[in-house]
């Protein structure tokens, strides 16, 4: 009976169903694309250099001087590799230095971030060369395409790196350019030089130390937990070490993601409130129009509670229908887009470039959001129906019956 009552004022039922369906579609779609974008963004932004977690000298984050190193780095790396949730770990030396190229007289010099990395264990996505190849062993360098352009250097050319060593002396090393990379981040491409960790350690006088052990977690979302677990299990080692997740290492990335996420939460919440109110309005109208009927039902012995339950069941059917339509459309649209992909358009192109994202996105259906929204909308519609249903308790049968005359 409740089901049939839905179809008395078809337009209103469909409006309610459409409202519920739209809210679900909007939120599920936004989350499905956003989650995918965020995960990609984070993986890219962290994978390029920092890793998901880093083991550093406790002071390094705030004061990245060459002397703030991690002692006995190779042993620490081995210990980290043993831990659960860790996919990879690699040693890094980091310093700022001047890079020169070109024959005498026509020399060009630029400042750059120098990174000593182990080509065997390194996981940074900048390993993918734009020209030439990644470093294979000591004596080679791999630099950003922008820096190569500035230096006017090509694969095979000699580069000289000049900086300050750990203990304050001059650090100098000559390397052959093996290849270049393009990360999509212009600043990075303009000012990064990677060379073999051994060359770095020798030139900068690291001994057995490193500036960081970069760690890749199984899942970027677990980075903070992995960092904390490492901190507890590996505490009390030879030297003080601080484990920092990408959230700590790149606070601006966290901010960016959070801002975007909150923006969509806010819009979603607004939409849900809006839909709930319009459903409430529809129910108030329906109850008002059916006063005579409810009066008759009460007269023949139906209790106000039973009438209210009938309305709640009507509301339930309505929301279930809305959920079915909303989830169905979301699944269909997202399912289709997950194979074809779609472009986010102009507004996002800059962001995509900044985080080295592909310009087509392939969203994955977000089951958690779909389930959560379905439950939320069912509850919201029940609440929306509850308010007008309360009027039934006060319904005066005699007056309701008189209304028909």
């Amino acid at each position: 009976m409740a089901w049939r009552n839905l179809w008395r004022v078809r337009r209103r039922t469909w409006l309610t169903v459409a409202g519920v369906a739209f809210a679900i579609f909007f939120v599920v779609f936004a989350n499905s694309t956003q989650r995918g974008t965020f995960a990609l963004m984070i993986d890219n932004a962290t994978g390029i250099l920092s890793g998901h977690v880093q083991a550093q000298h406790p002071a390094y984050q705030d004061d990245p001087r060459p002397r703030n190193t991690v002692a006995d780095a190779a042993a620490l790396r081995a210990a980290i590799m043993e831990q659960p949730g860790v996919r990879a770990a690699t040693l890094r030396g980091m310093a700022f230095a001047l890079v020169s190229a070109g024959s005498e007289g026509r020399e060009r010099t630029f400042g750059a971030q120098i990174i000593g990395m182990d080509p065997i264990t390194e996981f940074a996505s900048i390993r993918r060369p734009a020209t030439g190849r990644f470093i294979a062993g000591p004596g080679e360098a791999f630099i950003g395409a922008g820096l190569a352009r500035n230096l006017n250097a090509n694969a095979g050319d000699e580069l000289v790196v000049l900086g300050t060593a750990k203990e304050g002396g001059v650090a100098a090393v000559a390397v052959t350019l093996a290849g270049t990379f393009e990360s999509g981040m212009a600043e990075l491409d303009r000012a990064t030089l990677a060379l073999h960790f051994e060359d770095f350690a020798e030139a900068f006088g690291l001994g057995g130390e490193a500036h960081a052990v970069a760690i890749l977690a199984d899942d970027s979302a677990d980075a903070e937990a992995v960092a904390q677990r490492l901190a507890t299990t590996l505490d009390g080692g030879a030297a003080p070490v601080r484990f920092a997740s990408w959230e700590t290492l790149q606070p601006e990335l966290v901010q960016f993601v959070e801002l975007k996420a909150w923006g969509s939460y806010l819009i979603s919440a607004l939409l849900i409130v809006l839909v709930t109110f319009s459903v409430m309005n529809a129910f108030v109208m329906a109850v008002f129009e059916r006063t005579a009927e409810f009066g008759m039902l009460k007269a023949i012995g139906m209790t106000p509670g039973a009438i209210r339950r009938m309305l709640q069941i009507e509301a339930l059917w309505m929301s279930v229908l809305g959920v079915a339509v909303g989830v169905g459309i979301s699944a269909a649209v997202i399912g289709a887009l997950s194979t074809v992909g779609f472009s986010l358009g102009e507004e996002y192109s800059e962001m995509l470039e900044r985080f080295n994202l592909p310009d087509r996105l392939y969203p994955a259906f977000d089951y958690a959001t779909a389930f959560g929204m379905a439950a939320l909308m069912v509850v919201a519609v029940q609440l929306a129906a509850l308010l007008p249903a309360r009027r039934l308790r006060k319904l005066n049968v005699v007056e309701a019956l008189r209304e028909q005359e």
């Binding site: 049939r4 009552n5 008395r8 009927e293 008759m296 012995g301 139906m302 049968v397 019956l401 028909q404």
Partner: protein
């Protein structure tokens, strides 16, 4: 059990919401014997509907006592009144008697569903009642597909399927022409005579009054005249 299905003593009903209180009933003493068909008559505003509502437990009198089938209504809570209406009283109103989304037979079943009667029994009893009242051919139609007279007759079926002690009908023929009124009245007579259902109707319609065995005329909220056709 007493032979009186309804007994009212000193019923007054005053509507005090407005500035000037309206005395809809001013001290009505009224009894209905089991098996009797009584028709309330009187000019508009004389208090017919109000008296019917008070007897049916839809409205509470300002003063006085109402007993239905030996139960004192003044002592009952809202939900007990609701139970009484469900189990002992059948109602037929002027209009809007039926649930529009249910078929005739489902409307008749609905009241038994409220009583908690099982689905199979509901079905057989509803069908049987419609058949008995000559309405079996329209059982599967919805109210919108029925004429006014057919709707009223289904309402009677709905009202009597629970075997109530009392059937109250307020202007049941107001929206009907004379030939469909005739059909409805024949049906009520059948229900009254064959099944012994006590009936109280409130109406302006002389045809309805003719069918009733007893006519009670109200004026200004008081009984002016009480006449039985058998005694006349």
């Amino acid at each position: 059990m007493s032979d009186l299905v309804v007994s009212c003593e000193g019923i007054t009903r005053v509507y005090a919401d407005d500035a000037v209180p309206v005395h809809a009933l001013r001290g009505v003493d009224f009894e209905v014997r089991r098996g009797e068909w009584t028709s309330l008559a009187g000019p508009s505003g004389s208090g017919k509907s109000t008296l019917l509502h008070v007897i049916g437990g839809l409205d509470r009198p300002t003063n006085g006592e109402v007993n239905v089938d030996g139960q004192r209504l003044g002592g009952l809570s809202e939900s007990q009144l609701s139970d009484l209406r469900l189990n002992k009283i059948g109602f037929v109103f002027q209009a809007y008697n039926l649930i529009p989304v249910l078929t005739a037979v489902e409307n008749v079943e609905f009241i038994m569903q409220l009583q908690g009667v099982g689905a199979a029994e509901r079905q057989t009893r509803a069908r049987a009642t419609l058949t008995r009242l000559g309405l079996d051919d329209i059982g599967d139609r919805r109210p919108g597909e029925l004429s006014g007279g057919q709707q009223q007759r289904v309402a009677v079926a709905r009202a009597v399927v629970t075997e109530p002690v009392l059937l109250l009908a307020d202007e049941p023929s107001a929206n009907l022409d004379s030939s469909t009124t005739q059909d409805l009245l024949e049906l009520l007579r059948n229900v009254n005579e064959q099944h012994g259902v006590t009936i109280v109707t409130a109406t302006h319609d002389p045809m309805v009054m003719d069918y009733a065995q007893r006519r009670v005329r109200l004026r200004d909220g008081a009984i002016e005249h009480d006449e039985s056709s058998s005694g006349a």
